[in-house]
């Protein structure tokens, strides 16, 4: 009787091992005309549901954002919950949160472009749009926060007869400059790769859209000279915007780290905030990609499980980095043993918002670490969507803990008081609604997929037959 050797290990499913090469967007080419038509169609298709959602969002923006803000401007910040000693409340939580969201756009687009990571191609635009619109929310939140917003132009270094300049000693001033720089740079960086696609749209549309695209595409025809200039400019910008991106959130962190508050004056805040920003930003990219791939026409072709997989790996790395920085920040405070720092840590962990502290750790670290190692989960878009939402909630909690929750404790125990938000809540809902509204409208105005980038990738990648085997090959185009 023959002895059959049997492996003790579970037999591996070979179907999962041998993936179909056409699962990759770049190895599943379509004719250029067809792809252009697909993108144009996705831009033109609006169902009645789209308009209902737009109307509801517009209403929310009008009431919760502009209505509540107007009410607050007319009555003073007293209608908000900020008080002594939490002089900074949810407005700054939202500012930091939205700047964090805005980071992913540049990170995904510029860093992956610089490193020539190929899976970036179909979603760079979707991420860059998040940067610009996220920064709009961050800017609005800062202005909401000001006591006398009608004088906010005093933060600008404009010439005036008093010879007064803003105070460049103030971290808030650096912050203001950094955010302005980033907003300008990221808008230009959004615009440049958009030009060829706008030109494509111009050639395929009529009526007001044709006028709109003709103006925006700046007469781009696709000559070699134009491409050379555009590519050079994009290359310069991609390299230049990366340090800007890192510096922006470092400077946001300095708003806190430069202060004398316990829990804030930490030297690790700069990188910790950058990583936190990338954490929430990448999660937000996943959320947006899921929504556009399920709601917009033809997007399933462009946004595939491989993209969720690729971002998922990045997120796993960022999750671990975030955990490391959190631990670093925590252990140094704790080991330092200054009594006020210990008091603050104890308050955060066991005080009225202890649930938020624990939830933050679970959502930002435990759950992503438990989910993202698994390839199958990484490739399941709705799992990644859920994870993206959870991480963003966790990161919002993190900022809430750092700002109003930590402000509760200061060196004068007589003034300790717990913060209760009031008009901040509708204003927060308003900024979220405005972000979604802007994104929805933009998705019908500009091509959400960088068609030329996808086509360039598809031209460079081909499946070649070597004997019986099909091998994915790549040609260097640039």
């Amino acid at each position: 009787m023959a002895v059959t050797a049997k492996s003790l290990l579970r037999p591996r499913a070979h179907t999962e091992e041998e993936e179909d090469p056409t699962e990759h967007l770049l190895l599943d080419p379509r004719p250029r005309g067809e792809m252009n038509a697909m993108v144009m169609e996705s831009m033109h298709t609006t169902s009645w549901k789209f308009w209902i959602v737009t109307m509801v969002l517009a209403l929310i923006v009008a009431v919760c954002l502009f209505g509540a803000w107007g009410y607050m401007i007319a009555n003073g910040l007293g209608v908000a919950g900020v008080t002594k000693p939490e002089y900074w409340g949810i407005f700054l939580v939202n500012t930091v949160f939205w700047i964090g969201i805005s980071h992913a756009g540049t990170f995904v687009s510029a860093l992956l472009r610089v490193l020539k990571v190929e899976f970036r191609r179909p979603f760079t635009r979707a991420a860059e749009l998040m940067t610009t619109f996220g920064l709009v929310q961050a800017g609005l939140s800062i202005f909401m926060h000001l006591g006398r917003v009608w004088l906010s132009y005093w933060l600008f270094p404009y010439p005036n007869e008093r010879g007064l300049w803003p105070n460049f000693h103030s971290p808030l001033m650096w912050d203001f400059m950094a955010i302005n720089t980033y907003l300008l740079a990221s808008t230009m960086y959004l615009f440049m790769p958009l030009i060829p696609d706008l030109a494509m749209a111009r050639d395929r549309s009529t009526g007001w859209r044709k006028v709109f695209y003709r103006i925006l595409s700046l007469g781009f025809r696709g000559t070699e000279g134009e491409w050379t200039h555009l590519k050079t400019a994009m290359n310069i910008f991609a390299f230049a915007i990366l340090p800007v991106m890192f510096s922006v959130h470092t400077i946001v962190a300095w708003d806190f780290a430069m202060a004398t508050r316990p829990g804030w004056s930490s030297t690790v805040f700069g990188p910790y905030f950058v990583v936190g920003a990338l954490h929430s930003g990448l999660a937000a990219v996943v959320v947006v990609l899921f929504i556009i791939s399920t709601t917009m026409k033809n997007m399933k072709y462009f946004i595939r499980p491989e993209h969720f997989d690729g971002i998922g790996k990045l997120m796993l790395m960022i999750t671990m980095t975030w955990g490391y920085f959190f631990f670093n920040d925590y252990i140094v405070e704790w080991y330092g043993g200054e009594s006020i720092s210990r008091t603050l840590q104890k308050f955060l962990e066991t005080g009225p918002l202890a649930w938020m502290w624990i939830t933050m750790l679970v959502l930002n670290f435990v759950i992503p670490l438990a989910v993202l190692w698994n390839r199958r989960w990484r490739r399941t878009p709705w799992v990644m969507f859920g994870l993206g939402i959870l991480i963003n909630i966790g990161m919002w909690f993190e900022r809430y803990i750092i700002i109003p929750d930590a402000l509760t404790i200061n060196r004068m125990p007589f003034t300790w008081r717990v913060y209760i938000p009031h008009v901040e809540i509708p204003l927060t809902i308003g900024t979220f609604a405005l972000f979604i509204l802007l994104y929805m409208l933009a998705s019908r105005l500009i091509p959400l997929v960088p068609v030329w980038e996808v086509q360039e990738g598809q031209m460079a990648h081909t499946l070649r037959k070597f004997g019986k085997a099909k091998v994915a090959t790549k040609a260097e185009i640039e």
């Binding site: 009555n75 003073g76 910040l77 007293g78 209608v79 900020v82 008080t83 002594k84 000693p85 002089y87 900074w88 926060h145 000001l146 006591g147 006398r148 917003v149 004088l151 906010s152 005093w154 933060l155 010879g163 007064l164 300049w165 803003p166 105070n167 000693h169 103030s170 971290p171 808030l172 001033m173 203001f176 708003d255 430069m258 202060a259 004398t260 508050r261 402000l407 200061n410 060196r411 004068m412 007589f414 003034t415 008081r417």
Partner: protein, 244 residues
């Protein structure tokens, strides 16, 4: 435009000594300060939410277990730091250092209300105008004409009654003499029935305030932060009789 950062060794000029043994916690200083400096009355609801406007507050601490309970009082006002954390963080130069008086001053007209200064003040000595608070009729007649009335959205804080300092200085200057010790009295010191607050020139080593500041009971509030406060606290603990 000079920078708001004081020089590395700022010479103190005006200073204050608060004797915590003498303080009875009667809040006369709080009231007098509110009258002198046109502080707003925020009403019950806002006061309950921690928005009461006080340039000086009397912190009350209980120690011990009943029946052996002791109270101690600590009046806290702006410490007019030599190295003030509130000054460099203001983006619009609303929180600046007065080189002539060596105190921290708030330029109300310049303030845009970022509230960074208040966050960075380790003494929590700054107050923000969360709203425009009404002044019902008799109150509107008691405004001090020497002091600006602040509107909503600006930060404010103790000035060491700079209007009184300037008046005395001008008087002395016109009489061609130096300012006499004890001639300047901020509202809180003037109102204190226990004489717990002493004010004067720290640059004069023989002034009452300088002598008291050298007392062995003297401590600086959060002096370890290096803010160089101009207010010296004489430690309590019933060294001058019980205040329990």
């Amino acid at each position: 435009m000079t920078t708001p950062t004081p020089s590395d060794t700022p010479e103190p000029k005006w200073g204050m000594v608060i004797d915590q043994d003498l303080c009875t916690g009667c809040q006369a200083c709080v009231t007098a300060c509110a009258m002198e400096n046109n502080l707003s009355f925020v009403g019950e609801e806002d006061a309950g939410y921690g928005r009461g406007m006080h340039w000086i507050r009397v912190e009350r601490f209980w120690t011990g277990v009943f029946p052996t309970v002791y109270t101690s009082f600590q009046p806290v006002l702006c410490q007019q730091c030599g190295h003030a954390p509130c000054e460099p963080v203001c983006p619009v130069f609303a929180s600046v250092h007065s080189e002539s008086e060596q105190i921290n001053v708030q330029v109300y007209n310049r303030c845009v209300g970022t509230r960074y200064c208040a966050n960075n003040c380790p003494y929590q000595a700054r107050e923000f105008n969360w709203r425009d608070y009404p002044r019902p009729d008799p109150l509107s007649n008691q405004l001090n004409p020497d002091v600006t009335v602040r509107r909503r959205g600006v930060m404010e804080k103790c000035t060491f009654c700079v209007q009184r300092i300037r008046r005395v200085e001008d008087q002395a200057h016109s009489e061609n003499r130096a300012v006499r010790d004890g001639e300047v009295q901020p509202a809180c010191a003037q109102a204190c029935p226990a004489h717990a607050i002493t004010f004067g020139l720290l640059e004069d080593p023989d002034s009452q305030v300088s002598i008291k500041a050298r007392n062995s009971r003297g401590t600086l509030l959060l002096g370890e932060l290096g803010t160089l406060p101009r207010v010296t606290y004489l430690k309590g603990g019933a060294t001058h009789g019980s205040n329990g």
